[in-house]
Each structure stands twice: as structure tokens, then as C-alpha cells.
């Protein structure tokens, strides 16, 4: 009897997934129809970006869009990263069920070799961003990778930044961006409106700070919970017992 039921259940589920696959295929067909028909696509904003490039302070078109024309998006995006760290730190203390494996000597020496190289590449990408592919995000990603490596190897270099200063360091990127934006408003009257003469230097400094903040936030996100909080499995179980009692 039970076997019969479970077969029926499985059949029902298979039918359900088949049905949803058919629906998804139809959705794809509709999307493809929307993508392929409808004549020539618009030429986009390439020309207007080029026309204003002279006033933007940088030569790279993508950087000009990110840090000048649409800098407000980038400002909010720095806050998205910051928000990610706040949310991850707000979750209850957590310890993975499988402890990390011991650190081998190969990893330790590889880290010693790779970290300076990664910082160098990050710096280069940052610099290159002003006139070709590259910029704060690419540099930040590399720096974030370096942070992840340091965390994996539990490197002593991590103690360069004391844990007390970590929240401040995480805030620094969005705060600096906000201060620059408001400063431009106080001096020039428009939020995020840099003057043409100073735009180049403002963008380079912004990019450097943003790259650092992105790298740090990425490493913090990889680490998971707030650094100062350590909890034993016992304490967690106790807390959970109490909550279950309350419910």
C-alpha cells in the first residue's frame, strides 16, 4: 500500500517537473521571440558617451560611465557591498560542521609569494582603468582574492589590521564616496558633480578607495561571521533550547 502511494507520489512529482519544463521551454521561446524580432536594435549611448568623454576626466569609456555619468549607481553599489557585510555579521554566530583542514607548508609559502604579486596586479589594474580595460572593480576583485588567500592560510599578515578597526575600514569606502559626493554638492551645487579640472584626480582617488573597500568587503564576506564573536557548539545548542522553549 505504502509502496503504491510512494510510486503515485513520485509519478506526480515527475509529471510536475515535466510540466514545469514544458512551461520553461515556452518561456524561452517567448524570450527568443522578443530577442530576435522587432527590427534593428537602437544604437545605444555609445555616441553620447564619446561626445562627453572630454569632460569626464578619464579616457576609458566604461570608467567614465561608472564613476562620472552614472556614479550614483556606483555609490549605491558600494552600499550594497557594505549592506552585505552588515547582514552577514547580523546573522547568529555560526561554526561550520567540518573544521578547516590544517594549513600545509606549500600553501603558506605560496601565499608569501602570491600576495605581493596580487597587490601589484591590483594596483596595475586600478591605474590601467583610466584609459583602458580595468578599474576599481577589477582591482577590488583581485585584492579580495588576496584577502581570501590570507584567510585560508591564517596568515600573520591578517593582524596588520586590528579587529577593532575592521568596522571602520569596511565603512571607509562608502563613507568616503558619500563625502566626495556631498562635497561636490556643497562646492559646486550638484550632487556628485565634479568640476571638469578636478574630475581626473577625484576619480583616481575614488577608485583607489573603492578598490580597497571592495577587496576588504569581499574578504569579510568570505570569512562569514563577525570576527570577535566566537561561540562553542554547546552555547549554540543552549540558545536554541531556550528559544524552542519560548515558542
Amino acid at each position: 500500500m505504502r509502496a503504491c502511494e510512494s510510486t503515485g507520489h513520485r509519478c506526480g512529482r515527475r509529471l510536475g517537473s515535466l510540466l514545469s519544463l514544458v512551461m520553461l521551454a515556452m518561456l524561452f521561446a517567448a524570450l527568443a521571440w522578443g530577442c530576435l524580432t522587432g527590427g534593428a536594435p537602437s544604437s545605444g549611448l555609445g555616441q553620447s558617451v564619446d561626445a562627453a568623454l572630454h569632460d569626464s576626466g578619464v579616457e576609458s569609456r566604461v570608467t567614465a560611465v561608472l564613476l562620472n555619468y552614472r556614479a550614483y549607481d556606483t555609490l549605491l553599489e558600494c552600499f550594497v557591498l557594505f549592506l552585505g557585510v552588515v547582514v552577514v555579521w547580523s546573522l547568529r554566530p555560526y561554526r561550520p560542521q567540518h573544521p578547516d583542514p590544517p594549513i600545509g607548508s606549500i600553501l603558506a609559502s605560496l601565499v608569501r609569494f602570491l600576495i605581493p604579486l596580487m597587490v601589484l596586479v591590483g594596483g596595475y589594474l586600478l591605474w590601467a582603468g583610466s584609459n583602458q580595460a580595468g578599474g576599481a572593480f577589477q582591482a577590488g576583485a583581485i585584492l579580495g582574492g588576496a584577502g581570501v588567500l590570507l584567510l585560508l592560510a591564517s596568515s600573520p599578515l591578517l593582524h596588520v589590521l586590528p579587529k577593532v578597526l575592521l568596522p571602520g575600514a569596511i565603512c571607509l569606502g562608502p563613507l568616503f564616496f558619500l563625502v566626495v559626493a556631498v562635497g561636490a554638492m556643497v562646492l559646486g551645487g550638484v550632487f556628485l558633480g565634479y568640476r571638469r579640472e578636478t574630475a581626473a584626480i577625484v576619480i583616481v582617488v575614488l577608485e583607489a578607495v573603492a578598490a580597497g573597500a571592495i577587496g576588504l568587503s569581499l574578504a569579510a564576506l568570505f570569512r562569514g561571521s563577525r570576527p570577535e564573536e566566537t561561540s562553542s557548539a554547546q552555547a549554540r545548542t543552549d540558545a536554541l533550547t531556550q528559544e524552542e522553549g519560548q515558542e
Binding site: 517567448a30 524570450l31 521571440w33 522578443g34 530577442c35 524580432t37 522587432g38 527590427g39 536594435p41 537602437s42 544604437s43 545605444g44 549611448l45 553620447s48 558617451v49 562627453a52 562620472n68 555619468y69 552614472r70 556614479a71 550614483y72 549607481d73 549605491l76 553599489e77 552600499f79 550594497v80 557594505f82 549592506l83 552585505g84 552588515v86 547582514v87 555579521w89 547580523s90 546573522l91 547568529r92 568596522p167 571602520g168 565603512c171 562608502p174 563613507l175 558619500l178 559626493a181 556631498v182 554638492m185 556643497v186 551645487g189 550638484v190 550632487f191 556628485l192 558633480g193 565634479y194 540558545a239 536554541l240 531556550q242 528559544e243 524552542e244 519560548q246 515558542e247
Partner: protein, 491 residues
């Protein structure tokens, strides 16, 4: 600086940057997060009120960020509906912030687990202020990609707030909420990509002016609508809402039900406002049918609930329906329809937030929220029970509340356009709301003294802020012309 403030344009950006600043400060001052938190809320409230005053005295306008005109740059737009939403967020947000201060203090005082409650408060303020900034940014934005970024900010901070309580049920609910939200955001983003492909611009006004029914535009509208319907929790996408809203901390429930839902719906409304003349009767009727089913189904579910917060959460599912039945009515009279639905949104926001705050106070005092065991609680918390009942009156649509004015405007529209089935849905929804609210109110107002024991542990600010919000919901029944005047200001 003063000259700059008087010149006026920067009023538009202040409701976004002030809470961002407050969030950073309350994150940095982790020993005393409440001080920058409440201060940030207060400053944001005044900035929003100033924006509304500016709008009424000088008319709407656009603000070009960085001085770059669209389509190259991003612009903010202030018109009646946008500023009304910012103002609504400010009023509800200020009350919730005052409530939250007392709430966390009471919890820290009450039980032994000080550390856990301190940690909750430490995360609450930055998350809430970031959410507030993102909502204001969303209401004021005129750029569709910027809307996507603010949508993500809203989604992530709401998920963080939902998970804050740490209860197992809330973690599972937050996980589901996050996945649904991400699906909605990605669908929205793909729609934005389609629109950009066709129009070569991200400015909503420019796109709206050139809109056609090309296949790519149709797909874009479908993707954007479905994504936003997921986030608004319109039936049948409502499944994630009740557990997420009911298992969160009390101020968080009020924020989610009173404000966050309206954010996603507002974007939906903005997109549909432009296309509505093109799509014809069918699509608008489909939305209204979904809304009608939501009203009936949500009310039925609310009636079946055993827990007070679940009841209020399902009532949100029902009330969301009203936000969507307006679309067929808007074809004939766009202005009147918009006025009615925005009136509904603001009165629902105040009433629902007041009810969730009151329910949270009851929960904290009694230690549970089983409706059948809440008899006689009014003798301990008279102001809170009054606030709950008053909020309920507004949901039912009884005079002299804001809910009554909104439903009256709905009904007069529906009658004058002879859409009798909508009249039936609105009347039935109000009757059903009366049934489930009376069921809860009958218990908390009953003269019997059963469960309540012990001294009052809740802070006075919790009781007063809930009552103030409920009174605002009632006051909206008297200031109709003022609000309607604000809605009609053009951008």
C-alpha cells in the same frame, strides 16, 4: 551652504543621503547604535517633510545627478505620488524608529539574554536606515537601472531584518524570502535589458514617451511585471510573505508590511501607468482578477489563523489585492484612479504598521500571541489594544478613517464605470476584513480576565508610537483634500 539649501534642488537627494549617513554612523558606534539611529530617523523625517513642503510650494521637478542629463546620466524625479510615498515612509518610519528604541530597551531589560538583544539592536539600526534610504531612492528614481540597484538594496536589507530575530522559523522564512527576491530582481533586470535594447535609454520618462507594443517591449513588460509581482507578493506569489512577516521582530514586521511591500508595488504602478493605454482591457482585468482572489483568499486565511501576527500578515496578503484591482478602473479615469490607490496605500501603511506594532507589544507583554489566550489584555495595555482596534477599523474601511475615504473613492469609480464585479469584490473584502478583525478584537477587548499577569514590562514609547500611527490612519479620514492636492502635483 544655506544658500544651497534655499536654492532648493538638493532637497531631492537629502532623503536618500541622510539615512545612508545615519546607517554608517550607527554601524560605527556599536556601543550606542540607538543614538545615531533615532537621530538619523528624525533628520530623515524632517528632510522628507521639507521635500513635501517644497513640492507643494514650488511644484515638482527633476534633479540631474552629477549634472549629466538623461539619457547619459541618472536623474531623480519629484512629483506628487513619489513625494507622497517618501512622506508616508517618513511618518511610518519615524513611529517605527521610536517604537524600536523602546522595544529593544524593554527586551534588554526583561530577560537574561542581554548580549543577544544588544547584538540584535546593533544590527537593526544600520539595516533599517539603509532600507529607508533605498526606499526613498526607489521612490524618487527616474532611471530603470538605478531602480534595480535600489530594489536589491531593499531586498537584502529586508532579508537581513527578517533573519534578525534568530528564531529557526525566521531563518527559514528569510532564506525563502531572499530566493524569491533574487528571482524577482533578476527578472526585473532582464526586462530592463530588453527595454534598453529597444530604446537605447534607461530614463523611464523617455522610454514611456516612446513606448510601443513591439515583441521585445512586451517581453520586457512581462518580465518586469512578474518580477515586481513576486516582490509585492500578489496572489499567487504570496506564499513567502506570511512566515517572513509574522516571525520577524515587531518593528521589522511593521516595516516589511507597511513599507517594503509598497516599494515594489510603486515601481509596478510607475511602469504600468505608461503602458496602460496601450495594453487594453485584458491585461488590466487579469491583474484585477488576481487582486480580487488575493482579497478573498487572504481574508479567509487570516480568519483561519490562530496567532495574532499571522492574522495581521495574512491581512496584508488581502490588502495587496486592493493595490491591483485599481488597474481596470484607471483606464477610464487615470487621475481619479491614481488618487484612490495612493490614498489606499498611505492609509494601509499607517494602519498596518500600527497593528503590527501593537501586536508586537502584546507579544512582549504576554509572551505569546495565541489569539484565544489574549482575553482581557486591554486591562494591562489599554493604549495598545486601542491602537490595534483603530488600525483594524481603517482596514475594514469604516468612517471616519483613511481606509474609508480610499474605499469610497474606489467604489465611486467602480460604480460610475459600471464594473459591478469590482464593486462586489470591494464590498466583500471589507466585510471579510470586518469578520477576521472582529474575531481578534473580541478577544483582546473582552472583559474577562484570563491570561494576563505580572507588571507591565513594555516601554511607554512603544504604546504611544503605535497609538500615534493608528491616529494618523484615522486622521487621514479628515485631511482628504490636502493629500489629494499633494498627489496631483505634476513632475
Amino acid at each position: 551652504m544655506i544658500r544651497l539649501l534655499l536654492q532648493g534642488d538638493c532637497w531631492l537627494i537629502l532623503p536618500v543621503i541622510l539615512p545612508l549617513l545615519g546607517a554608517l554612523l550607527s554601524f560605527l558606534l556599536k556601543k550606542q547604535p540607538r543614538l545615531p539611529g533615532v537621530l538619523g530617523a528624525l533628520v530623515t523625517f524632517f528632510a522628507s517633510a521639507a521635500l513635501a513642503w517644497k513640492l507643494v510650494s514650488h511644484g515638482g521637478g527633476r534633479y540631474y545627478l552629477g549634472g549629466w542629463q538623461p539619457p547619459l546620466g541618472i536623474s531623480l524625479r519629484a512629483d506628487g505620488p513619489a513625494v507622497l510615498m517618501v512622506l508616508m515612509t517618513a511618518v511610518t518610519g519615524l513611529a517605527v524608529s521610536v517604537y524600536a528604541g523602546g522595544y529593544f530597551q524593554s527586551r534588554i531589560n526583561k530577560r537574561g539574554e542581554e548580549q543577544r538583544h544588544l547584538a540584535q539592536e546593533r544590527s537593526f539600526w544600520p539595516l533599517w536606515l539603509l532600507l529607508w534610504a533605498a526606499l526613498n531612492g526607489m521612490f524618487l528614481s527616474a532611471d530603470i537601472f538605478n531602480m534595480y540597484v535600489t530594489l536589491e538594496l531593499v531586498a537584502l536589507s529586508s532579508v537581513g531584518l527578517t533573519a534578525l530575530s534568530g528564531k529557526p522559523a525566521s531563518q527559514v522564512a528569510a532564506m525563502r524570502y531572499l530566493l524569491v527576491s533574487l528571482l524577482g530582481s533578476l527578472s526585473f533586470l532582464l526586462g530592463v535589458a530588453f527595454l534598453y535594447k529597444v530604446h537605447g535609454s534607461l530614463d523611464l520618462l523617455a522610454i514611456g514617451a516612446a513606448l510601443s507594443l513591439a515583441p521585445a517591449v512586451v517581453m520586457a513588460m512581462v518580465l518586469i511585471s512578474v518580477g515586481l509581482m513576486l516582490k509585492t507578493a500578489l496572489f499567487p506569489f504570496h506564499f513567502w510573505l506570511p512566515p517572513a512577516h509574522a516571525n520577524a521582530l515587531a518593528p521589522v514586521s511593521a516595516i516589511l508590511s507597511g513599507l517594503v511591500i509598497n516599494g515594489a508595488w510603486y515601481l509596478f504602478f510607475r511602469f504600468w501607468q505608461g503602458v496602460l493605454p496601450l495594453v487594453g482591457e485584458g491585461a488590466a482585468t487579469l491583474l484585477a482578477v488576481l487582486g480580487g482572489v488575493a482579497i478573498v483568499w487572504g481574508a479567509y486565511q487570516a480568519f483561519c489563523q490562530q496567532r495574532l501576527k499571522m492574522l495581521v500578515a495574512y491581512s496584508t496578503v488581502a490588502q495587496i489585492g486592493y493595490l491591483f484591482i485599481i488597474f481596470p478602473l484607471m483606464e477610464m479615469g487615470p487621475e481619479q484612479g491614481a488618487a484612490a490607490v495612493f490614498y489606499f496605500v498611505i492609509s494601509h501603511s499607517c494602519a498596518k504598521a500600527a497593528m503590527f506594532l501593537a501586536a508586537g507589544t502584546l507579544f512582549l507583554q504576554v509572551g505569546h500571541d495565541r489569539i484565544s489566550d489574549l482575553d482581557g489584555v486591554r486591562q494591562v495595555l489599554p493604549k495598545t489594544t486601542f491602537a490595534f482596534a483603530l488600525g483594524g477599523l481603517s482596514l475594514m474601511g469604516l468612517p471616519p478613517t483613511g481606509g474609508f475615504i480610499a474605499k469610497y473613492m474606489y467604489l465611486s469609480q467602480a460604480v460610475s464605470q459600471e464594473r459591478w464585479w469590482l464593486v462586489a469584490v470591494i464590498v466583500a473584502g471589507s466585510c471579510l476584513a470586518a469578520v477576521y478583525i472582529c474575531r481578534a478584537v473580541a478577544h483582546i477587548l473582552s472583559p474577562r480576565l484570563v491570561a494576563v499577569a505580572g507588571p507591565v514590562v513594555v516601554a511607554a514609547s512603544m504604546e504611544w508610537s503605535a497609538l500615534a500611527l493608528a491616529l494618523v490612519a484615522m486622521l487621514l479620514g479628515f485631511v482628504g483634500p490636502l493629500v489629494l492636492h499633494l498627489i496631483e502635483v505634476a513632475g
